[in-house]
Symmetry: C2
Subunit: 726 residues, 2 copies
């Protein structure tokens, strides 16, 4: 049944894929698209113009920006991304006197640019296939748990060797569930400085209300600049550093897009689940999303109530609330979308067809069928512990203090091992990042809110079903679990004492504990450390379970992918895995429901209609005055009679694509991707021609703001745009 | 400046009007439409096919149905209208055993049809211009108050003479604010019986949530039959009666409509305000709609709270709540729409242009300008008393018991005069209707809710500004108005005693009091009668004020209309006034806001998507099963792949058009108008090509239900439709 790996890879690379706007294509599969058709649709580039192993393609203008995507837009290291991707830097430098969050920021010259602490920019330099080494490790393992360990070790070895080159940041990406492994080598730039951010009322226009929604009128863009040492090598922030000279930078289109135009998204999509069996999706529909919906909603309420009469506290927890609200809407969108798009029915039908094909075509039919069966079993295996696992996962996210304690403890444990044996994420290469995170968390820490969230999770733990108890918590609350006892009072008392006595809420003490040796920590009297220690066995057991499952999947999924590839004649693309991808698309609207059609463009006049003067629909005065005066400069789209603000396309995107450039057929930047529509949240499980739409801010809105509202002439000139007369 | 009336009427009738889907055209202006253009758009009829004074036109198939419109659809007197127009009849016959509201109703043969009490069907027989007589009366009056009296008297005389013909119901309609008066003579049919009504979950699908909304999936239709005496004369309900034979009946189209198709609405639109000066609209935007919004909202809350734990009571007040919710949404739509459509700015600009034209073109410029100024003054004259007037208007609506008392008292007062001198609405010809209303109110009466609403209005009266007090109420609550006194307790106490002691909540006692002589009533100890008596002077004063204002408008508005007609070269149509009108339109969608386009048709598959299984989106099982089985019969629209359910057109409609037939270019029925979109609520003040859209149920949805869901074969055959094989 199995063909050779080489044959697969060749098949993938060489076969002319069915044309579809579905698919997030790795660079080396771009040439396999149907270029004849793309040309008809308006593509003026050749495959090599986009990706070329020698490094001359547009890909050199694309960078990964901590979970987002950015692109270079000047030879002086200027990058553009989403406002929400650079928001941390804006917030970091905001004070009551200089409220850049509220007012926006525009650096008067390079010396005024603001260093963005902890922001890392990675520019892909090269990648190579490392399947052989990882597969060999995988196949040498005696069981599934050992398989995960072997794959992890082989990965760490590859990464370590790769990172011996200075300023390199490397990672291994798995494709088709491990049918293929690729090592990516990027240059990591550590000195990134904020150049321009619009006021939050532009960059987040519509706020949570419009999040995941269309029509949209959000100016979700910001500019930063990458700096390196005078010798060109990446370096920590320093006054001596000079702007980085990217190998390529994107030209901004002044003509924008029209409905029907070909566009491309080039960026770093995080994770999709397009090849998950129906049983695994069903589990998510039944448990994962509903439980997230329930818990996130209650958790948000706890945060809101904790800071109801405390405006300063409310600001501290606002980031968490925003993120929970986003997760909540996502969960709801998933549930609705998986139902609306009949994803489960589709998957089930596909699985039936696959099994029929196996019965007809595959020699080793029995082993193929048992593969499919085992895959379903593995995906369903955690059903018995999922309530407990859910709490183990989210309790240390909810109580940041518990999370700090767990990080510190785990770090100390891993420090006792040789670097190569440490858990991924706890190696030397992760030290700075771990420390940064412990530090950065301070600005969003609100002890009382944190305490109440801990109480909330403790109460949930005390209410777990009998067969999924967390024994460490049961031991702590032995008395409270007696019939008639007051569990809530006990949880409150425990949490109150913990937050009174812990030193982890204090930044200095917390950083001092990081890198403390394990033995000292084990003797610590800090109640947060004690709680984390007590929970360690449960978390370890959960980790073992996950790693065993991971090993099973590393064994089964390549075979499953191979089966799918054989069945579909090579025409499948790999799931997103946080590596560089291209998606080709058209600017187009959609019908979210019967009787309604979403037009693919919004306008400045639409923004004025939406304006209520109240958050989140309150634009800055200057923008409103310019818009109301009809001062469109040259950024108007004639048939709209207004400046285009956002547009829709059917590009295949997911989280991680935030800030990705939207390119026209000439490779010019026509917009920045920043969201998907609500009906497309479930797109992670299956692209839909009807509902898969991403939302981008139109480059002409960005240019109109810089030109007519901000009069940011020097920035415009750096972008190659001549400012209009004032 | 004034041309002769005859010239005006001739100008109106003969000038070829600008083609626009704007305008609700009286029958005798239909021939003045641009028929060359209409033909191009798909009109296959000639003007005389629609209206012909000899009575052969389609107009003979159209009937007025108590605030709605109906049309004859068989030679056996079968009519079709909206479910909500015939709902009273469905409700009247519903019992827990035979819940026709819930389950729908289909008469097994004519003998099973259900008499609809109080339902009157009026078929227009003729009309004639009576301007000369009314204008003469108007011009003979010494002042504005006398003018109203003179016009009322002339009107009553005309009506009385007209109604001497048996079974005639007559009315005088004013056009262009009184530039023209027309006497309408209709045949009134008093025996109307319910033939078919779908379940409420079809007829009101989407409920309050979808009311005024698009997309829509409501099967808002029902059938009834008109009966007359064996000799053909209208008669009260009797077993001897036979089906009425209409002069014309409409053919149902089996082909339905497509986007872009020409359609016509023929019906009885109630009231529009297209020629109101900006100042009058401003007053409504500032006071009338916001106050309605506020009071209706609070009033609904009182009703809901009164019956929170009382399911039977909740049913009793549900009709009131529905009507308040409708009024509330209407008020909000007006406020939003008048702003969105910039009606005020448009009116102000128009007024400026009119004044400029007057300055250039009108000889008696001074009198024209002072006319415009005086008109504004008259419309603004009630500003000083509007808070009080608002309460005087709504208090007896809110407290039905107070309303009964007022009706009974007024009736007794008018009875003392000769019939011709009585207040319109209190003449002999109104006796049956007045009595019917006192009787029918019983089924929606809930004494405790009614009492609480009285308390609510009393509290508002006690809070009136100092210069708008209602002295009768102040006298009643003299003590409670002292500083420190508890007003609410006093209002509660008063209302509690009133509802304990009044006999008006009892149907028998109430009907017994109707027609009691004035002197007896004045001595009554019934506290509701006493309260109504106490309020009489305030209500009389308010009525005097209104009638004086009405007289001023009867003097000014004809001149104003004439000015507009002269200015626009004859191209204006009269405001709706509850008389028969035709509006020509196209099936088309619209963009309610930037980035969104409403498609002009909805489908059965869209209904299935909308279905939640919860009210108001819970369809009957039979309908769902048939729809899910894809059993579309021959009612599918091929390019939609489904049965069309509702459609939009840009017809010029308003309240009163409910149930109006939507006709195609051949005069066949393609749907029934039942609503407007939210953005078109403000359309009463000005038709908008962008937002004026009416909502109709597609005849194919109606036929699909009768054919594939209900298998109502005999009804289909009567409609001239051969049922499909089962």
């Amino acid at each position: 049944m199995r063909t050779s790996l080489l044959a697969v890879v060749l098949a993938l690379v060489s076969s002319a894929f069915v044309l579809a706007d579905e698919g997030q294509w790795p660079p080396d599969q771009i040439s396999g698209l149907d270029w004849t058709d793309l040309k008809k649709r308006g593509m003026e580039l050749l495959p090599d113009d986009i990706w070329d192993p020698e490094g001359r393609g547009l890909s050199r203008a694309i960078a990964s920006l901590g979970g987002c995507t950015a692109s270079f837009v000047s030879p002086q290291g200027l990058i553009v991304s989403n406002h929400h991707c650079l928001f941390g830097a804006v917030q970091e430098h905001s004070t009551p006197e200089h409220d850049y969050v509220r007012d926006g920021f525009y650096a008067a010259g390079q010396s005024a640019e603001l260093p963005a602490k902890g922001v890392r920019l990675q520019v892909l330099r090269a990648f190579r296939d490392v399947t052989a080494k990882i597969r060999a490790a995988s196949e040498s393992a005696g069981d599934d748990r050992a398989r995960t360990a072997a794959i992890e070790r082989a990965t760490k070895e590859l990464v370590a060797a790769c990172e011996e080159r200075p300023a390199s940041r490397c990672r291994v990406g798995a494709y088709y569930g491990g049918l293929r492994y690729v090592l990516f080598e990027s240059t990591e730039i550590r000195d990134v400085r904020l150049v321009y951010a619009p006021p939050r009322s532009v960059g987040e226009y519509g706020g949570e209300e419009d999040n995941w929604m269309w029509p949209r009128h959000t100016g979700d863009f910001a500019f930063a600049r990458a700096y390196v040492a005078p010798d060109g090598a990446p370096a920590d922030h320093s006054a001596q550093n000079v702007p980085y000279k990217p190998e390529r930078s994107l030209k901004l289109s002044t003509r924008g897009v029209r409905p029907g135009d070909l566009v491309m998204v080039f960026g770093y999509p995080g994770r999709t689940q397009r090849y998950l069996p129906a049983a695994a999706i069903e589990r998510n529909v039944e448990f994962w999303y509903p439980r997230r919906e329930e818990v996130f909603d209650e958790w948000m309420t706890v945060l809101e109530e904790s800071t109801r009469d405390d405006p300063e506290g409310a600001i501290r927890v606002s980031g968490q609330i925003k993120s929970l609200a986003n997760g909540l809407k996502n969960a709801r969108g998933m549930i609705e979308g998986l139902n609306r798009n009949r994803v489960l029915e589709g998957k089930a039908a596909e699985e039936t067809a696959l099994r029929e094909w196996v019965a007809r075509k595959v020699e080793e039919e029995g082993s193929a069928i048992s593969l499919l069966d085992e895959l379903n079993t593995v995906y369903g295996a955690d059903a018995d512990t999922r309530e407990r696992d859910f709490l183990l996962r989210y309790m240390p996210v909810g109580s940041k203090v518990l999370g700090f304690a767990q990080t510190i403890l785990r770090w100390s444990r891993e420090q006792e091992k040789p670097d190569i044996d440490r858990e991924p994420g706890y190696q030397e290469r992760d030290r700075q990042n771990r420390r940064d995170r412990l530090e950065r968390a301070q600005k969003n820490l609100h002890a009382e809110a944190d305490r109440r969230v801990l109480v909330y999770f403790l109460m949930r733990a005390l209410d777990l079903p009998q067969d999924q108890r967390i024994t460490a918590i049961d031991s702590l609350f032995e008395e409270a679990l007696q019939p008639g006892a007051d569990r809530r009072a006990a949880a409150e008392a425990h949490a109150t004492r913990l937050y009174e006595e812990t030193t982890l809420t204090d930044l200095e003490s917390r950083l001092a504990l990081f890198d403390t040796d394990r033995a000292t920590l084990e003797k610590s009297e800090d109640p947060a450390i004690r709680l984390a220690l007590a929970l360690e066995p449960a978390r370890d057991a959960w980790e073992e379970q996950r790693k065993t499952r991971q090993g099973a999947l590393a064994r089964l999924r390549p075979l499953h992918s191979q089966l799918l590839i054989d069945w579909k004649g090579g025409r499948i693309y790999p799931d997103a895995n946080g590596t560089l991808r291209l998606s080709v698309a058209s600017v187009k609207g959609y019908s979210p429901r019967d009787g309604v059609f979403m037009l693919p463009q919004t306008t400045l006049s639409g923004l004025l209609q939406k304006e209520t003067g109240q958050e989140p629909f309150r634009s800055p005065t200057g923008l409103l005055e310019t818009a109301r005066a009809g001062d469109h400069g040259r950024w108007e789209q004639e048939n709209l009679g207004s400046v285009p603000v956002c547009f829709l396309s059917d590009a295949d995107t997911t989280g991680g694509n935030s800030g990705s450039p939207m390119l026209n057929g000439r490779g010019e930047l026509v917009g920045l991707n920043f969201d998907r529509v609500f009906e497309n949240i479930a797109g992670d499980y299956g692209w839909s021609p009807d509902y898969s739409r991403n939302v981008s801010v139109d480059v002409r809105y960005l240019l109109w703001i810089l030109d007519r509202v901000e009069h940011a002439d020097s920035l415009l000139r750096e972008l190659g745009i001549e400012p209009s007369a004032p």
